[in-house]
Assembly symmetry: C2
Homo-oligomer: 305 residues x 2
DNA sequence: GCGCTTTACGCTGCGCGTAAGTATC
DNA sequence: GATACTTACGCGCAGCGTAAAGCGC
């Protein structure tokens, strides 16, 4: 009795009858037979314990109580319409927002085309991208700010508790050097051959350095420079200051006439692994799931990278 | 599909599960068996075509879409609660407003006690009173500003179209004179005995004058004064300027030691009739109906006045 | 194995449409 | 007598509870 059950159909029927003031026509408007409609109004009045209409065979009109209820009912229906419309918009990906956290190399090289395709398919969905190193990426996923991340597996292999990772691609290492560099033409490229040459490291890809140093041991590398930005590496190599080794996913930066990139033979497992990481519990929003699926679909074609 | 049916029970179930994140306990909160509750959630999700909860045997939590819907659902339920509460308050007469239009004589003499009793019974209901002559009273009822009127039948006997009148009381005429006036003691009071005496008329009660003049014809009345306010009549009679004749319902003004009031024998039908007048179509609000019933009940005891 | 959700299943009754009834003009 | 709401009635199915069956720890 405190809060009687009430359906949106009853509210619609009430509003239809309040406007049309005619059971027969209101019943038609609600796609109901007239007696069924009459019963619907009757049960509404019974459950509210209020007579809402004065009806005689000649006229139907709101009681004072019905008049009082009408604007509230209209507002409720409007609010319901808006809420359901908003919900459907998000479920159908007509609106929404997806936040991806991704390594800068992916953010600059591989994601732009993916985002462009996604926007073309779902123009109403906002996209947000945090181009950060792996750990901050995973933090964003963990605290719910990002829907998922594309990051290196790195330190925490599975992040057992909160996160769930899916291997997307193994990111093999490539040599980068000038086209006129002796290594550009070397017939059988081996790691040992790299050791003597002036080398430019990128601080971010410290895994590259560790891998190389481990493989070359006991030889030491001839490091000439350590920089932050990938574009700096490009410029330095192009200027002839040295050679470098970078993950395959960054090669988009080195597609120039003056440069040559060559895949390096590396011990199995030494290459960088890129994962798609999301929270273990809780599903993705419809829009995020669509982007997620697109990522998987695109990477499915290139399992080795 | 455009606007799926949705019941308040489903919203309540949704909110309960969103808060408790446990089907079993949420089902208890909704007084349902757990499978029935589960089905309720399932049909809700089906009719919205959106998965609202991620459920495993270990945990239940909102999907992103469910999280988006939750505040809207909560708001809808709150608005519904308020609307139904307001409606019930009015239906139960805990709140409301009644506007009565009544002749000044009734407004001053008879209604105060009625209003006091009504307020004691329904303290939350506002009362409004327009103390006007009959025609303005009826206008207020006709245009919907007043709920009903207590007025003289007067010019329009039934107001055939819009209004409906119910005879409350026939307001017989009474002589008003000083206690030391000869008529105060006259053994058999007749109209003709009034003719010689100086007479004070009230413009408002012109029906009194017409009735008296018709009954006395061809004798002429000895009019000394014509005034607007009833209180003026009291003062004038008390001062010995003359006698007067007033409707019974105004006698409250003349209950003084110095004055005497005596019923007059009048031709049948010549006395003023007081009606309760309301719109023909459209019922009264719960509060107005209660006051209406109280009026009828009080007058039922005094059919003649 | 235990806790929790889902599936299975029979049953009640709500809510529908058709058809007859009734009141008002 | 025409029009419009209500009542009567049979039927189908939605929705309930009980009981059994998955499913993750």
């Amino acid at each position: 009795m405190a809060l009687p059950d009430l359906s949106s159909r009853q509210l619609r029927a009430f509003l239809a009858l309040a406007e049309l003031r005619n059971f027969t026509r209101a019943a038609q408007a609600c796609h109901l037979s007239q007696p069924a409609f009459s019963a619907l109004i009757r049960t509404l009045e019974a459950s509210l314990d209020v007579r809402l209409f004065d009806r005689s065979t000649r006229s139907v009109q709101l009681t004072p109580e019905g008049r009082r209820f009408e604007p509230a009912a209209r507002q409720l229906m409007q609010d319901l319409r808006l809420a359901l419309g908003d919900l459907a918009d998000h479920a159908q990906r007509r609106r929404g927002r997806v936040h991806v956290a991704a390594l800068p190399s992916l953010a600059a090289g591989w994601l732009p085309q993916l985002f462009a395709d996604f926007r073309a398919r779902w123009p109403g969905v906002e996209l947000a991208l945090s181009d950060l190193l792996s750990d901050p990426c995973l933090d964003l996923v963990r605290n719910g700010q990002a829907d998922f991340a594309l990051a290196a597996g790195g330190a925490r292999p599975a992040d057992a508790g909160e996160l769930r990772a899916r291997l997307l691609v193994t990111d093999r290492f490539h040599l980068v050097c000038r086209a006129d560099h002796p290594l550009a033409q070397a017939p059988r490229l081996t790691l040992r051959k790299l050791a003597p040459w002036p080398f430019i490291h990128m601080r971010r890809h410290s895994s590259v350095r560790q891998t190389l140093e481990a493989a070359l041991h006991p030889l030491a590398m001839n490091t000439v420079l350590e920089v932050e930005q990938l574009a700096t590496v490009t410029g330095m190599v192009e200027a002839g200051l040295g050679i470098s080794v970078v993950p395959a996913l960054t090669l988009y930066q080195f597609q120039r006439r003056t440069l040559v990139t060559r895949p390096l033979p590396l011990p199995a497992g030494s290459s960088r692994r890129i994962y798609l990481v999301q929270r273990r519990e809780g599903s993705l929003s419809a829009a995020a799931q669509a982007l997620h699926d697109l990522v998987i679909e695109r990477f499915a074609g290139r399992p080795g990278a």
